[in-house]
Amino acid sequence: MNVVAPFEGIGASLRRKEDFRFLRGRGAYTDDFNRQGQLHAWILRSPHAHARLTSVDTAAAAKMPGVVAVFTGADMAKDNIGGLPCGWQIHNKDGSPMAEPAHPVLAADKVRHVGDPIAVAIAATREQARDAAEAIAVSYDVLPAVANTLDAVKPGAPAVHDGVGGNLCYDWHIGDKAVLDAAFAQAAKIVSLDMVNNRLIPNAMEPRAALGEFDPTTGDYTLHTTSQNPHVIRLLMGANVLHIPESKLRVVAPDVGGGFGSKIYHYAEEAIVTWSAGKLGRPVKWTADRSESFMSDAHGRDHVSNAQLALDANGKILGLKVHTYANMGAYLSTFAPCVPTYLYATLLAGTYTTPVIYCEVKAVFTNTVPVDAYRGAGRPEATFLLERLMDVAAQETGIDRVELRRRNFIQPDQFPYQTPVALQYDSGNYQATLDQALVTADWAGFESRRAEAAKRGKLRGIGISTYLEACGIAPSAVVGSLGARAGLYEVGTIRVHPTGSVTVLTGAHSHGQGHETTFAQLVADKLGVPTAQVDIVHGDTAKVPFGMGTYGSRSLAVGGSAMMKAMDKIIAKGKRIAAHLMEASVDDIEFDRGTFRVAGTDKTKALVDISVAAYVPHNYPIDEIEPGLEETAFYDPKNFTYPGGCHIAEVEICPETGKVSMVNFTAVDDVGRVINPMIVEGQVQGGIAQGIGQALLETCVYDADGQLLSGSMMDYTMPRADDLAPVSVATHTTLCTHNPLGVKGCGEVGAIGSPPAVINAVVDALRDYGVRSLDMPATPAKMWQIINGGRRMAAE
């Protein structure tokens, strides 16, 4: 009988099973797979932001050493290859659909951003392919380009796509403007703030890679790719781009070294290697170098907004009005349209009882890399806007910033709480997370720390953010009604083997989240099988029935729930078998962590007795119950989940250099039930590192002509260990009320809650300098300009 030590179940900080291979360099990433006869692809990319291709001559390239083929968009057109599809359709205010221009795999007649793929050279080695790509003669008729979001909507701006007037992808809104105007008319105070949410470049540690294979005997295609959702890639690429039936297309996402959203989407290179492998009858591999990642991985954020908050005389919020321009880049990436709409505007109530909200969003095309979801996706933008606005409102009403938040919090007894922007929160306790964070961060003792820092010549500030997010995306019917072209359920299969070990097939995909450990803990907790005997299989369409993948902090809330549902089916079947073996009635069988018992007796059977009987059915009611012990469940969530919490940042600014140093960071998050506290802490810390990165360091810079100035680590500031602060992570739990585990999700909270806390701290440190609005990142040069602005102007 398997006896499970209780520390392996829910709540145990089990060390990560997967680290055994990762720490020894034995992970198997896409680029680690090499096949006999494999060829290498190099993609020729546009050096221009906008140009008409007058000719693409591959003759010389095709004759280079080692070259097997050079393909262009024209070659793909001959094979009827479709464009890259967009998975979400937004409708304009007037009900008409968004502009959805073609997104060719290889450029047809125009290139629209630096890095836009034009042709592919395929050769025996990667260097030969690159040599050949350089030998392709392209004549460009360079066109005027536009990179900046607001410039793109100015009259006379260069048109990124013919037929898309004003570069407008959509003009969308949510909320009742008339009700809002009425609320504003009652306001004692209206606070208005302009904000930019800086554009980010994801930079997963593993660059994207793809390996396409074709078996001419069977006609089967296989794609290994760096993806967060292999089934979605199979669906999109098979059905929309290459027209390969799913039965003939296997997509494998093996170990993946970080995604942060950037590996959700279906990218051109996946289609290129799969199609070329078919044409050439040989495996074709492509692996991005870091420079390519900068100009071909979908970027994140990039909003320009004005927000107005109406308050009554007591600081109660009466209404919120937001106008946002969202940069889509040159083409619509897979989920791009939903990010600045349903993942953004629906979050604008935050933790507050704002009775009416109106938000309009104009999505615009520019000559830049496509923008899509990046860790938090829409929710960091909403949170930054709201939490900055709250601080400015506190300043301008004279109400303490903590007190202003308290006055507007949704109260613990108000759940379920219906916001004016579609979402219904199921649970939360924002007062509790706030109180706990204030104590941990010693908010009350801050002024003495500020005074001590001042003696050292430093400007010290403290900032707070009481955020909320919606994740665990999402009920299929809801997202369908909002424009998703897919359902967002998840699939889980539990296979109990004859001798009692378990294989779990999950449609979620782990690329750093530790699923192989957390999911095994669910099985240990529920079925009583030691985690060492639980194997989690994911990322292979040939093994897992189906799956929507991992993003939006959904793996545990949705994928874990599917597994729970499948385990319920295992237990139900197991009870029937146990009833037979113990000659009892099914209704009298109880199950607890691996043991079936006839209620009120000491008659028991272990799970392994049941599984052996199920697979070796010598003594088995074969007429009544099918042999085997394997169950599959699809779980479609009833609602989003709503993690929330409080982040407090403390910073010091050196007035001489302008450098902002993080000195302390406190997070108290409500992520629902915690399965593995160590993994949750790691996820939250990682998210906070990215949030601090956005607030202080990272920004994607294009010049006016659409050249990417921050095109490498030399100019794009990734956070390093010494840029971060000691981070204290704690959780305060209210359970999700609608999924079987009570879990909410922890993957994105760090990146969502932290940026406004950091910027509020910076603004607080600069309280003597009259700073009202401050765009991220708070770089040394920007800080110095603020601190020395007056002096510098006087000197000139």
Partner: protein
């Protein structure tokens, strides 16, 4: 990278012969050259690997100077007891270059020969008034650094060592570029008897001496002496990380800190 021939000579004389080919390039630690090759920014016909030349290695005290061979890695200078005793600011400067991997590979010769405006070594060489030894001559620091990535060395000339005079006091302070962590603005100061040198790196297209600060420090060696001196922003670098004005301001701050560090 593009294809190239590879040579590993055993002596400076052999290396000079191989470098007679104008398209051949010397390689030492490779931490500047290899990234450039990988990005295909450079297409040498041959790489002449200097790492097998024993005479280019080592740190020794010669009279009132520390002579450091061109192949000496940053980590060796940072950890050298000899350097720490004689010119602690030089060891300190080396300990701040890049990160551990960079210091374990990058060499004095490669850094000085490359003369990257944002590199650390040029400030120490100019700030200490060192003498650069090459395969054919000795060049004073004041004549050596001529412009962005440009030095007095001619094609095929090999930097063999740098002779750093032992001074009374020296100090170095820098502000790093937040992204690359190369130098955004740095100042290396030294004092030897009445002679004061102030070398500025990072801020301009090439390391340069700050005459007004030198005069002020000669009169009064103290951080306050440089505080009032304004560095002109004209001709300084300006990029997405900071304007020329910001860099000019940083020169004043770093000068103050460098003098304070020198004591």
């Amino acid at each position: 990278m593009y294809d190239f021939a590879y040579h590993k000579p055993g002596s400076v004389a052999d290396a000079v012969k191989l470098l007679a080919d104008p398209d051949a390039k010397a390689i030492s630690g490779g931490h500047t050259l290899l990234p450039a090759l990988k990005h295909r920014l450079n297409k040498p016909s041959a790489l002449v690997d200097l790492s097998g030349i024993a005479e280019l290695r080592g740190i020794k005290r010669v009279g009132n100077a520390i002579v450091i061979g061109a192949l000496t890695r940053h980590v060796e200078v940072a950890n050298s007891a000899e350097v720490a005793a004689a010119i602690p600011a030089l060891a300190y400067m080396a300990s701040l270059i890049g990160d551990v991997q960079v210091r374990n590979r990058g060499t004095l010769g490669g850094s000085v020969a490359n003369n990257d405006p944002a590199a650390d070594y040029p400030a120490a060489v100019l700030g200490l008034g060192a003498t650069v030894h090459t395969s054919s001559r000795k060049i004073a620091a004041d004549d050596f650094f001529q412009g962005m990535f440009t030095t007095a060395m001619e094609a095929g000339e090999i930097l063999t060592a740098v002779e750093f005079p032992i001074v009374d006091k020296a100090g170095y302070a820098k502000m790093r570029n937040p992204a690359s962590r190369y130098v955004m603005a740095g100042v290396f100061v030294s004092k030897s008897g009445g002679a004061v040198r102030v070398a500025v790196n990072g801020a301009g297209p090439c390391v340069f001496r700050q005459a007004a600060m030198e005069a002020a420090l000669a009169a009064n060696w103290s951080p306050d002496a440089v505080a009032g001196i304004k560095q002109s922003a004209a001709d300084l670098n300006s990029d997405i990380h900071g304007s020329a004005e910001y860099r000019a301001h940083l020169v004043g701050v770093m000068a103050k800190r460098a003098v304070a560090a020198a004591g």
